[in-house]
Symmetry: C2
DNA sequence: CGCGGTGTTGAAAATTGTCAATAATTGTGG
DNA sequence: CCACAATTATTGACAATTTTCAACACCGCG
């Protein structure tokens, strides 16, 4: 639970265009960088923050992979998102000064602490930072809207296809292959996020392999026919 | 599509504690009020804003009732929320300067325009307004997390129970009865929001009536056993 | 090398969806 | 104000998708 302090956080971080607004002046950049003075390592399986805990910082993922989830009292889990490097966690904590979900590392990870009060202060002085914060929150709202569409209107194969395309797209932005990836989560976690049981996820993977759309070796996924996958995820195109 | 201009918007509005931060100084209150200088009437069925349209304002509902939805190209709809007086719409537009969903009035309504650039400016000068904006966005994120739990992990009867309790709770805050309400949406719209077909919604209503939990006359709902409804919505309590 | 966690697959069950008929309600125009 | 049409809601019978339960295979690690 200890938090190490570093001198410089952002200058040498190749994710800064994801975390920070572009076009900051040298001076403003330094002020923001000063704000991001603490990092924390989170080992696989460890909880970064949990429901009910006091909210004081947002967290930017420097490296690694997380899930956020809600747990009901009767033990049901609902995963609300998978987060990768450059993404921000903890926005749910702002409204009530307490986190309302849990964030758990799915691999050994490192996060930068973004003390919320300092962000507010600085955002008042740097308009582009202010707008950036708003955009990050708005983006999360739009993402969740998309998940609602997925959960509310799509079938198992459509959900999984959309999920895989989403993941690979985000990996592509970060410079990874757009055809291959290694999943960080179990079938059960995928199913949980998508509102399906793990067996359904497994079966759907098998069907995609049968159809020659994917190659699957456990968690290693290779997309053979990206267009076919897109077609499954977006039935509207199919209607042409 | 015309927008009328009024002198005073917030002073005489009994929803201001929902829209605006509390504890504003007289001076700051006036500045905020000046910002909210335009209103617009939206008749039942009319679209307030739609996907793709340029984003320039948030909208606060002064009176009436809305739904927001996503439409896929193949004609599928997903309702992402129902909004009532005092609630804010349009947060999805910030990230890309364009709305990503549609807002449709479910009854004759009136909204206040909150020009986004002006909000940003003023938020830089009034910390409590800044924090209030952040809280509104954070609250929306938390709400959507809850919907994900509902859609991903709950069964038809649980979904409907949670939905009804949510609606009646929000109405209660606004001074309405906590046991009776008139729904503003069709069974199809309820089902769409909850990831169910309208027949399933109808059947579930009938079952609740059978069990003596509700009285239902079309859209008029009376909650006879609120505890039983809570029990259906929150199975964890049942596990005691 | 064996064990625990993870993943796959089959068969049966359950929930929800689909299709269809009917009823109730609301809106519209004469 | 009434009649008719259109929309909305209810209910039944059957179908489809997904879940449940179970058995087994695979992988990584101590």
């Amino acid at each position: 639970m200890k938090t190490e302090t570093f001198k410089v956080a952002c200058s040498n971080c190749n994710l800064r265009e994801l975390c920070l607004p572009i076009g900051l002046s040298e001076k403003d950049f330094q002020r923001v960088e000063q704000l991001v003075s603490q990092r924390r390592k989170v080992v696989r399986g460890q909880t970064l923050f949990r429901n009910g805990e006091k909210f004081e910082s947002l967290y930017a993922i420097r490296s690694g992979f997380f899930k956020t989830n809600l747990m009901t009292e009767d033990g049901r889990e609902q995963i609300t998102g998978f987060q990768m490097a450059g993404e921000i966690m903890g926005l749910d904590g702002i409204v009530n000064d307490h986190f309302t979900c849990n964030a758990i590392a799915l691999e050994n990870s490192e996060v930068c602490l973004l003390p919320y009060r300092s962000i507010e202060e600085l955002a008042r002085e740097i308009p582009s930072l202010q707008h950036h914060v708003h955009k990050i929150m708005s983006r999360e709202i739009v993402r969740e809207n998309g998940v609602m569409l997925l959960l509310g209107s799509m079938q198992a194969n459509e959900r999984l296809a959309a999920f895989l395309l989403n993941l690979i797209g985000r990996l592509k932005v970060r410079g990874y292959s757009q055809s291959e990836m290694v999943l960080r989560m179990t079938r059960e976690e995928i199913g949980n996020y998508l509102g399906l049981k793990l067996e359904t996820v497994s079966r759907t993977f098998s069907k995609f392999v049968e159809d020659g759309i994917l190659e699957v070796q456990q968690r290693a996924i290779k997309i053979i026919k990206p267009d076919a996958l897109t077609l499954v995820a977006n039935p509207e195109i199919c209607a042409i």
